[in-house]
């Protein structure tokens, strides 16, 4: 049953023939372009049966890739979160020169292709890069090892937490924090008892999106990891490797793990948006931005 708003005068585009055709076309395109890729992952993952699926996941190389991906996220996401909170605190609660420039630099990785990021890291830590020779003489391995993967992941996700927090904390202003410190609260106490409760949903929202990107990052990591099977292959790289080995079922089995992560991320995202997170990002929502501030307890 498709209907326009009940009890209201018809608006532009409410003509029944137009409405049904447009809705039909859009839903078909959504099914073909967005739903079908998800379905094909599930179908291909089980194309050689559930036993083969289980064997693919339990394969030592796949297990190692999952472990490496989880370790990368466990390092990159907390550091990124600490950075995002620090950046948002500095930018929204203080005045200093160059704030605008700093904001632009923080958002920069969002515009840079992951491949460019990977290549750039090679020219810092690679043998032909700035620190490569020094690092080699000290026998420190950054590229083609875990540190390189973590660094590249931190580059591509640098803006994720900060860009959720900055618009929200900007809209909330500084009055509450100023009141707290004038009553004698320390900086940390002010942050944990006044600021954090007001930004917790947006913070979690940023962390969830950051984690999803770290676990799924392909381009930047494929440049710096060296693709050593069972050693520096993260899950997305392992999916590519299996796919090019003509092991489609194994590749899709591994891909199904990341697809599940994507679905969980979407569900959590919707739940957090109901709590008011994420909406400040939308330009028009700025007009009523104060409505997203959780009520402060007296």
């Amino acid at each position: 049953m498709v209907h326009a708003r009940k009890g209201k005068p018809p608006r532009v585009g409410d003509n029944i023939v137009f409405r049904r055709s447009l809705l039909g076309i859009v839903l078909v395109l959504v099914a073909l372009m967005i739903v079908a890729p998800l379905v094909v992952i599930a179908v291909e993952a089980f194309s050689r049966g559930a036993v083969y699926f289980a064997e693919s996941i339990a394969d030592p190389d796949t297990r190692h890739a999952i472990l490496l991906t989880v370790i990368t996220a466990l390092i990159a996401v907390p550091i990124n979160t600490a950075f995002g909170v620090a950046a948002a605190w500095a930018i929204t609660k203080h005045d200093f020169r160059g704030k605008r420039l700093l904001t632009v630099i923080i958002e920069l990785p969002f515009s840079v292709s992951p491949i460019v990021a990977g290549v750039a890291y090679l020219f810092v830590y690679g043998l032909q890069g700035l620190f490569g020779p020094v690092l080699q003489s000290m026998e420190i391995k950054i590229l083609f090892a875990l540190p390189g993967i973590v660094l590249a992941s931190m580059f591509v996700t640098a803006p994720f937490v900060a860009r959720e927090l900055i618009p929200l904390m900007q809209a909330q202003g500084r009055d509450l924090e100023e009141a707290a410190t004038s009553l004698g609260a320390s900086g940390w106490r002010t942050f944990f008892s006044v600021t954090l409760p007001n930004i917790k949903w947006a913070l979690l929202y940023g962390v969830v999106l950051c984690n999803s990107r770290v676990m799924g990052e392909f381009g930047a990591v494929s440049v710096v990891s060296g693709n050593i099977r069972g050693q520096t292959n993260t899950l997305p790289l392992h999916i590519e490797l299996l796919y090019h080995d003509y092991n489609a079922a194994g590749s899709f089995a591994a891909a199904s793990i990341l697809a599940c992560l994507a679905i969980v991320t979407l569900v959590v995202k919707v739940a957090l948006e109901r709590q008011g997170a994420g909406r400040v990002q939308r330009p028009a929502a700025l007009a009523g931005a104060d409505s997203i501030i959780p009520e402060t307890k007296p």
Binding site: I25, S113, V116
Partner: protein, 273 residues
Amino acid sequence: MRRRVLPGLPLALGITLVYVAIIVVLPLAALVFKAASLGPADYWRIISSDRAFASYRVTVLCALAATVFNLLFGMALAWVLVRYRFPGRRLVDALVDLPFALPTAVAGIALTTLFATNGWFGAPLSLLGIKVAYTPLGIIVAMSFTSIPFIVRTVQPVLEELDPALEEAGQTLGASDLSIFVGVILPLLTPALLAGVSLSFARSLGEFGAIIFIAGNQPFSTEITALLAFIRLEEYDYPASAAIASVMLLTAFVMLAITNLMQARALRYTVRG
């Protein structure tokens, strides 16, 4: 009255600057430094080689095609989500973000499997004589998929805020739906559409993971610029890789400037009071 200064600036700003310097600025500066050390003649020779030019051409043309498709599809999708009530609307609304949540490599193998000549879409299309996988069409499909959410998410809030009185005024004056859409609604949506278009185009220019599986990656026909930078690296031709990556970086800066301009305009038109 002088504002009370909140504590924590040295620590917070210190962490921020160190992180930004090590993680963001240092690598990009190293890339620019490496590309600059080539000298103008060599640099120009590399970035203007036939193979590099062919890669710019296919990347830009496919990104344009994908963006035009997303402009139409994204606007229709935002319209349907805001204006119509139908069962499953919230589900569709949530699914719009799937291309952002799904890792690009996963999207790449899924789209390739769908559009391969024996795939669900590829088989019927090949009967019609249309080949998608391993052709520029495949690149367009991958680019469209990864950038769908941009236009929907920039247009949606503007449509939600649109004042019904504007349309009613047109209706009472006897204007047709089409002329109200073209004359009243579309101009109001234009800033948001342009902001979405520039984001979508910029993302398509830099996309890698989803494309390399479906593109076929033939030099001069289906090799995107990001892949060429990657291939030069695998050939240990580091200067060439640096030069090509620097072209992509410069393009990203230009697109960022355009996007910021468009978003500032979109904000000016939507924030009231």
